[in-house]
């Protein structure tokens, strides 16, 4: 094990801040993110509203903080489901190989060939906009990357000495796969999943921006930017702070992911 590097500290620090925002928004800034203030419509940043207000007089600091829980949720769920599905499929494909692997190969081609965003837009359009449907859409596409990673690891380890030994000892397939192969194969997957969270936040906010992600009045960074688009020149604070928040969150996850990869010595 190496020691924890500066970028990793930085990434973890950013993530801790976001977690704090998500867990205890009232603690950081007690203003209600949904409360209108007709006396301060599109007000510039001030002591009362450090990030300014939007066209309804809602406090942008409170909204940016409130959005962090939604975006973290997006990062988590958009990764967890593909990870689980992809891991199971990857294990099966890697272990059994043969025709299963051939079918998998075609599926991978299909998903790789299909422009990702277009596919997600189409799936969300079918199911209707909203976070849950967005997760489903992302899972439909996202599992492939995980399955590929796991498959590769499993194929390497399938022929390793310890698996051969386990076979000789008469262990069941399930035991070999889940108790021996999986823990070893999971490490690069977990590292990848942290970086993937950064991409998912970007994707979630892009869909929010297109009106296909989180629904109002839910505050989500992409939605906040879309809402403030008309005020981009006259009241730039409405879009600026959520924009910075997205970059910051993405940075946090990427730095943490890179740092973890170095720390755990995972090849990328």
């Amino acid at each position: 094990m190496r020691r924890i590097s500066v970028p990793l500290w930085l990434g973890l620090g950013i993530l801790a801040l976001l977690l704090l925002c998500a867990a205890a928004p009232q603690l950081l800034w007690p203003t209600d993110p949904l409360a209108f203030d007709f006396a301060a419509l599109t007000a510039a940043p001030s002591w009362a509203h450090p990030f300014g207000t939007d066209q309804f007089g809602r406090d942008m600091l409170a909204r940016t903080i409130a959005a962090s829980s939604v975006d973290l949720q997006i990062a988590l769920f958009s990764v967890v489901f593909p990870l689980m599905i992809g891991t199971l499929i990857g294990l099966a494909v890697g272990w059994y190989g043969g025709w299963l692997d051939a079918v998998f190969g075609r599926l991978v081609d299909l998903v790789v060939t299909f422009p990702f965003l277009v596919l997600v837009i189409a799936i969300v359009a079918v199911l209707g906009p909203g976070l849950v449907n967005m997760y489903i859409a992302v899972a439909c596409v996202g599992w492939v990357a995980y399955a590929r990673l796991i498959r590769g690891e499993v194929m390497v380890q399938r022929n390793s000495d310890y698996v051969a030994a386990a076979r000789v000892l008469g262990y069941s397939t399930a035991r070999i796969v889940f108790r021996h192969i999986l823990p070893n194969a999971l490490r690069p997957v977990l590292v990848y999943s942290v970086t993937d969270m950064a991409l998912c936040i970007l994707l979630g906010s892009s869909l929010g921006y297109l009106g296909l992600g989180a629904q109002p009045p839910t505050a989500e960074w992409g939605v906040l930017i879309a809402d403030g688009k008309n005020f981009f020149t006259t009241a730039p604070w409405i879009t600026l702070f959520p924009g910075v928040a997205i970059v910051l969150a993405g940075l946090g996850f990427s730095l943490a992911g890179d740092g973890l990869a170095d720390l755990l010595e995972v090849k990328r």
Binding site: Q55, F56, G128, P129, G211, Q215, P216, K229, T234
Partner: protein, 537 residues
């Protein structure tokens, strides 16, 4: 609202005056101003492209609002959208108790390719518009039994019954005159097939013709050198040689292009940015009076998604109306540009009645009405919005907040256009956002759609008033203007107070131009007129 821009002449309102007066009503420069510049090109950015420029088969405003530059109708709407004036016909009279209409057609009119317009063209075009198999607008001229023409210049329409809306229908885009000889040469087994091809490269007697069209990107209109209209000074219209219409769906990008001087004008300025543009010394913000009304509509059927639907109770609908402060919405969404509706139809629509908001803001009354209806503990309602539409979002976010204060949980569901329209047509919505613009200078179009249940179940809401239905049927054959007005007053009263909508506001059409681009006109029906537009150097 903001009527100062269009100096409407009284004479023009009454119709049947010389073309000169007509044109001056279109906001042409007064003698104090410099003479219009002849020739050149105007670039006008649109938010979406046209789809099918065929007067009979079109369905969409993106087609309708530009077709008046390509085609003419026998009569034309006046600039205020309420009256009629001469178009391809110079005179018209009713006889036989309103069952015969005789029109005298202007002589010497030519299509854009130089071929003269004949009476055969007129007869063919009217009959094509009347054919019940063609398009969605034939009902507007369904009262016509036959079209008879005599050369050189007379058209006689025999009606099945007196029809107070027929003259207005002769000024509606679907009765535009098309070149029969050119149309006959187009291959195709029926009007729909031929119309598809014609609609790609349409030509009429209008001020311009479509010279080139990259679909979804840009359309070019070129001057019709044979156009029949002249301005007050006797100068041949149109002034411009060419109009270029690029399609730029993104509001922010479209406005940046205007501010950078890459286009001369653009439409659908977001209300949030009107003030900013008004303050820009290089630009001129124009707010044209319009028939556009914005409202929320409620499903009135007893059940929605298998559960009892509280909106079927008129008291609940009234309560929601009282609970929402329309002035706050007007301030937030339209930035003060809209005004509260005093009826379901716009105040510019003929026979509109009412003054002041239909439901003043009164949350206490709303709560009382909800309690009477048995919802003292509150209720939940969902609303279909158009995804990505800022106005919808602003309206609904505000409504959501206000309804929460009277115990109503209002859930917004964003949908893309196709899904939303499909749900609408099936009546599969609890409430939804909507807006309307008139296509005809008469209240019958909007009333048929909103109030008369046999048309589309009153906005597909399932609402129905037997009395209003009867009134509408009677008004459609009523030739006495006073009686017809009384029928309309009663229908508006019934619909406004028990109907399936929450009227929000009426708004002008916001368009903006560079200071040197002048003479564009948008009438309350939405039609864009470029015939008197010009660009100063």
């Amino acid at each position: 609202m903001m009527d100062t821009k269009v100096p409407v002449s009284r004479r023009a309102l009454l119709g049947g005056v010389a073309a000169a007066a007509t044109v001056s009503a279109f906001g042409l420069p007064t003698p104090a101003e410099a003479a219009p510049v002849l020739g050149g090109k105007m670039i006008y950015a649109r938010y979406a492209d046209s789809q099918r420029l065929d007067p009979v088969f079109t369905e969409l405003n993106v087609d309708i609002w530009v077709m008046n530059n390509l085609f003419d109708t026998l009569l034309l709407p006046t600039p205020d959208g309420k009256g009629l004036k001469e178009g391809l016909a110079t005179k018209w009279e009713l006889s036989d108790g309103g069952k015969t209409v005789t029109l005298t057609v202007r002589e010497g009119v030519k299509f854009a390719d130089g071929t003269p317009m004949t009476m055969a063209d007129v007869k063919f075009s009217l009959e094509r518009a009347m054919n019940p198999k063609n398009g969605s607008w034939n009902s507007m001229v369904a009262s016509v039994a036959s079209v008879e023409v005599t050369e050189p210049a007379t058209v006689v329409l025999k009606l099945k019954h007196p029809d107070p809306t027929l003259l207005a229908a002769l000024a509606m885009f679907n009765t535009s005159v098309l070149p029969k000889a050119m149309y006959d040469k187009i291959p195709g087994k029926d009007d729909d097939e031929k119309g598809k091809i014609f609609g790609q490269k349409p030509m009429g007697t209008g001020a311009f013709y479509v010279s080139d069209w990259k679909i979804g990107e840009v359309m070019w209109l070129k001057k019709n050198p044979y156009y029949w209209k002249k301005d007050a000074a006797g100068v041949q219209l149109p002034y411009l040689d060419e109009v270029e219409m690029p399609v730029i769906p993104d509001d922010a990008t479209r406005l940046l292009k205007l501010k950078a001087g890459e286009v001369h004008g653009t439409e659908f300025i977001p209300y949030a940015r009107v003030k900013e543009l008004q303050g820009d010394a290089n630009l001129r913000m124009e707010l044209w009076p319009s028939t556009k009304v914005t409202y929320i509509q409620f499903n009135c059927r007893p059940e929605y998604k298998g559960k009892p639907n509280p909106l079927s109770n008129v008291k609940v609908r009234q309560a929601l109306n009282y609970a929402v402060n329309k002035d706050a919405i007007i301030a937030i969404t339209t930035h003060g540009l809209g005004k509260p509706l005093s009826s379901f139809m716009s105040s510019v629509t003929p026979l509109h009645t009412g003054s002041g908001p239909v439901y003043p803001y009164d949350p206490a009354k709303a709560k009382a009405l909800l309690a009477e209806a048995g919802f003292a503990k509150g209720l939940e309602i969902t609303c279909h919005a158009l995804s990505g539409n800022q106005d919808d979002q602003n309206n609904l976010t505000t409504i959501q907040q206000m309804l929460a204060q009277v115990g109503v949980k209002f859930t917004i569901e964003q949908m893309d256009n196709a899904s939303r329209v499909a749900a609408y047509r099936k009546g599969d919505f609890q409430s939804r956002t909507a807006y309307w613009t008139d296509d005809i200078a008469d209240p019958s179009e909007i009333t048929s759609y909103f109030v008369y249940s046999p048309t589309v179940d009153c906005l597909h809401t399932g609402w129905k008033s037997e009395e209003a239905d009867k009134l509408f049927v009677a008004s459609q054959e009523e030739v006495d203007p006073a009686k017809r007005a009384a029928e309309y007053a009663k229908m508006q009263d019934i619909f406004n107070h028990t109907g399936p909508t929450m009227p929000l506001y009426e708004t002008p059409y916001p368009v903006a131009f560079r200071k040197n681009a002048k003479g564009f006109v948008q009438i309350p029906l939405g039609n864009n007129y470029f015939e008197a537009a010009y660009v100063e150097k």
